[in-house]
């Protein structure tokens, strides 16, 4: 895809997604639709879709044991094996996956190729993608956990603790405190910063521009819009938070209600989140589940020590030794090579076929 089209298209779709609830709630008062029906449908789609996806992957077997080995194998006892990057057993695999999923270990290896004339090629420090990817995902996680406040009563202690930590850095520093604004959460800003970085990276690097699809810009814009509307609600165009919680608690307790006084901004935010839930199982975002199922990472490298079975293995036609000896017996005998069956009689001139030797 042309990157201008991709960006314009993705931007337009997100704009439309903002306008839909705006018009829907303001002009048509479709609060039940946007506050109850769509969120339920979205969450249902998310779970059913994601489970279906993972089950679909799981249905396909893993015929061969193909880990990408990233360290010394286990072989001779005096050679130190790398138990994590080249795991021999399941313990190592678990560790490898923990590092992969929680710390993005493979991405941490990233380098940047520098090509100079000569040619001289070097591989330079490039941890920014790793850093911002980590920031993006953890900020997102913190935000999700913080939002548990809206779905629990009483609010669990870890949510409160996390909120404190998240707001800690800003206490006393934020110039807004004087204006009776709530303390700023770092996670929200971090998320927007990371989204910004990931977008600019796609835009500025010609390689990234070349490979990016609308499906890469759209989720960034969508998540950016979700973060932006969330921050707007909290700091500037405040909505009635008590009413909002009434709505969310209604959803989670399956006794949905629509309190009359929640601002439209809340419905926009909720709708965008719903869209993210809808979109998730049908997009690249399923890497959330897929990362656990990648056969190059989640298998131990012990295929010479323990037999791996391919469930759909089928017999194949091979060229047997007997067929081989049948063709070359006379030549073998002449060369003094042992044979299974003595040659019957001299055949005269054996056909000397061209073998198509390669260099």
């Amino acid at each position: 895809m042309n990157f201008v089209v991709s960006i314009v298209f993705s931007g337009a779709v997100v704009t439309l997604l903002v306008l839909i609830p705006l018009v829907g709630v303001w002009a048509f008062d479709l609060r039940v639709l946007f506050g109850i029906v769509i969120p339920y449908a979205a969450v249902a789609t998310f779970f059913v879709g994601l489970v279906a996806k993972v089950v679909g992957w799981g249905r396909s077997p893993v015929p061969f044991r193909i880990p990408t080995t990233a360290g010394q194998q286990w072989s001779l006892p005096w050679i130190k094996a790398n138990r994590i990057d080249n795991p021999k057993g399941n313990g190592g695999v678990v560790l490898r996956m923990v590092f992969e999923v929680l710390l993005f270990r493979s991405l941490f290896r990233n380098t940047r190729m520098e090509f100079r004339n000569g040619p001289r090629i070097t591989y330079e420090f490039e941890k920014w993608l790793w850093l911002f990817a980590l920031l993006f995902h953890y900020a997102f996680l913190v935000i999700i956990i913080r939002h548990l406040r809206f779905f629990t009563e009483p609010v669990p202690f870890f949510v409160t603790v996390l909120e404190k930590l998240d707001g800690l850095m800003q206490i006393g520093i934020a110039p807004f405190t004087g204006f009776q604004l709530p303390g700023l959460f770092l996670s929200g800003l971090a998320l927007l910063a990371a989204v910004g970085f990931l977008f600019l990276r796609r835009l500025i690097s010609s390689q990234m521009r070349h490979i990016s699809l609308p499906g890469d810009y759209f989720p960034l814009f969508l998540i950016g819009a979700i973060g932006f509307t969330g921050i707007l609600m909290r700091y500037l165009l405040k909505v009635d938070i008590v009413a909002a919680k009434e709505l969310t608690m209604g959803l989670v307790s399956f006794q949905p209600t629509i309190p009359g006084n929640v601002g439209v901004l809340f419905y926009i935010h909720l709708f965008l989140v719903s869209v993210l839930f809808f979109y998730f199982p049908f997009s690249k975002l399923v890497h959330l589940g897929g990362v656990f199922l990648s056969p190059t990472r989640n298998l131990s490298n012990n295929s010479r020590a323990v037999r791996h079975v391919n469930p759909w293995s089928y017999p194949v036609k091979t060229h047997t030794y007997d067929e081989y000896e049948e063709e070359f017996r006379d030549k073998m005998v002449e060369a003094g090579l042992p044979v299974e069956k003595a040659p019957e009689q001299p055949e005269g001139e054996a056909s000397e076929e061209e073998t198509g030797e390669k260099e």
């Binding site: 396909s60 015929p63 286990w74 072989s75 290896r109 990362v291 295929s303 194949v316 390669k358």
Partner: protein
């Protein structure tokens, strides 16, 4: 054959897809098949011999590739079947986020700059069709959802780019989800083979291997002649003539090495190294045989389809069983070891007719090979050295300033990193590593693996090998390195051309060639030359006389 540009010209590489190309978008940039990059088509007789579909004369430069009428149906059905058979493929089709970490990790992109050689785009060539056929979003939204129709042009693009990947898995190392382009390429090629799209440099070796036991089509008597010839050469250098056995029943160990080692320099010197080692160990209790039937360690079937890989690989166990061997020792080779390590037991096992390998010299039991029953020769030799079983004179390799190239497959599909280094350090005095981003698990491909080691694609090979050559040049300039050691027959075949092109001062050797030079045989004459017939250090004078 296309003229190969000079290194200075070839080195003018632009890695930024231009704005123009960007505006057009890669999906709409039609494939241009270039001589010097593309390989020749597989010949009909090669395909016929092994019963592969659609054998015919065709030329990739022609408009018409002479495909069956229902080619699209065959490919899409084949894809559906493989999605159901390989979780790897199914997951890799869905989860790429196009973060671009792989983009500048591919040697073909680094050395060529063609954006479709960024691993992410190579996979997208297949992924775009997958989306169109198997995802709802792709069916409805088309290109907006990254989906596109499988057209004749897209098919040609597949063929062109799946034969510009050496399945080296370097990208897979850097991918946050472990997406493995080798897996995509392997399956992509498998699909292409369903309608007879192959390359000669894979199809011919496959047919040869099927018939004669090895890729080069060496017949049994010729194979034996070659080994005899090496023994003569060894006698000339050492005064001792090894007496290897071939196809001998009752031998404890069956030895299998790539046929490149018995056919082409400098692999032949590695073969001599094996012969010297085996001769040395004979008196210590080694009972080993070579085979003319299983005379190929490598497996070009792996570059064709999983099925063909299995068909060719079957010989190893079959021959070991026929000869009554207890276990198998494998020579220096790259993809051979990927197949042995990650596939062989699954393909053709369980090898219950064999026993878990035990070194007859040291008594070491190779637990790591207990099921597959096949040991890598550097594992075997490292164990010998560690147990002080070898008398070595390192100084005989003093003319060499050595660096070591990790072959892609043993590095990233096995983890054989220290064994060859341990052997090298014990047989030579001057060893220097290349920069860390270019060795071990991050090693760069020779640029000629996975069936690309032909003559007609020399430009592609020189481009793909540039990152490796660049690292070699670095240690050549810094430490005076003049010898590139490796444990792969394709490397030994490909590197001489590559070095000659980019770093002409550096030569190529197998690890066991250096072992053969350093090993002190009982009763040997004073050696004046190495196995290549070049004077040993301090012997240059006498050579002149």
């Amino acid at each position: 054959m296309a003229d190969l540009p000079k290194p200075e010209e070839l080195a003018q590489i632009d890695h930024s897809p231009s704005l123009h190309k960007g505006l057009l978008g890669w999906m709409d940039t039609p494939v241009q098949i270039r001589p010097g990059i593309a390989l020749y088509a597989g010949k009909p007789q090669s395909l016929e011999y092994v019963g592969m579909p659609n054998p015919r004369e065709w030329n990739p430069m022609d408009e018409d590739w002479k495909l069956p009428e229902n080619w699209k149906e065959i490919i899409l059905e084949g894809l559906r079947e493989r999605l159901d058979r390989f979780r790897s493929l199914k997951v890799f089709m869905d989860i790429c986020v196009r973060c671009g970490a792989c983009a500048d990790k591919c040697h073909f992109f680094i050395g060529g700059g063609d954006p479709k050689n960024m691993p992410v785009l190579r996979a997208e060539l297949l992924r775009s069709v997958y989306r169109k056929e198997y995802t709802t979003a792709g069916k409805i939204m088309g290109k907006i959802a990254g989906a596109r129709e499988l057209t004749y042009d897209v098919l040609k693009e597949w063929w062109y780019y799946f034969f510009q990947c050496t399945e080296c898995r370097r990208c897979s190392l850097f991918c946050p989800y472990g997406i493995d382009t080798a897996e995509v390429t392997i399956i992509g090629r498998e699909l292409l083979n369903l309608i007879g799209l192959n390359v000669d440099w894979v199809a011919a070796p496959v047919a040869n291997c099927y018939r004669t036991g090895n890729h080069l089509g060496i017949q049994p008597h010729a194979y034996k002649d070659m080994i005899d010839f090496f023994c003569e050469d060894i006698e000339e250098v050492t005064g001792i003539r090894p007496n290897p056995s071939m196809n001998r029943k009752g031998a404890e160990i069956l030895f299998i090495t790539p046929s490149g080692d018995v056919f082409a320099d400098p692999g032949t010197y590695t073969a001599m190294g094996y012969l010297i080692l085996f001769h040395y160990l004979e008196s210590l209790g080694l009972d080993i045989t070579w085979s003319t039937y299983a005379s190929e360690g490598g497996n070009f079937g792996f570059f064709t389809s999983h099925e063909m890989a299995k068909r060719l690989n079957a010989k190893m166990y079959a021959e070991a069983e026929r000869l009554g061997a207890k276990w198998i020792l494998g020579g220096e080779c790259g993809h051979m070891w990927r197949v042995i390590h990650q596939y062989m037991d699954t393909f053709n096992g369980p090898a219950d007719h064999l026993e878990a390998p035990v070194s007859p010299i040291t008594g070491t039991r190779f637990e790591n090979a207990a099921s597959t029953k096949m040991v890598h020769i550097t594992e075997f030799t490292a164990d010998l050295i560690k147990n002080n079983k070898l008398k070595l004179d390192k100084s005989r390799n003093d003319n060499l300033v050595v660096t070591y190239h990790d072959s892609c497959n043993p590095a990233r599909g096995m983890g054989l990193l220290e064994e060859p280094r341990y052997v090298i350090r014990n047989v030579c005095n001057h060893f220097y590593e290349m920069p860390e981003n270019t060795i071990r698990e991050q090693t760069f491909c020779c640029g000629s693996g996975a069936g690309l080691n032909a003559g007609e694609d020399m430009e592609l090979r020189m481009r793909g090998g540039l990152p490796r050559a660049n690292a070699v040049r670095h240690v050549h300039e810094k430490h005076g390195v003049n010898m590139l050691a490796c444990v792969c027959a394709i490397d030994r075949a490909a590197f001489p051309d590559l070095m000659n092109y980019w770093v002409p001062e550096v030569d190529v050797t197998g690890v066991h060639e250096m072992v053969g030079n350093a090993l002190i045989l009982d009763g040997e004459q004073e050696r004046k030359t190495d196995l290549r017939g070049e004077p040993l250090p301090g012997m240059e004078e006498e050579e002149d006389v």
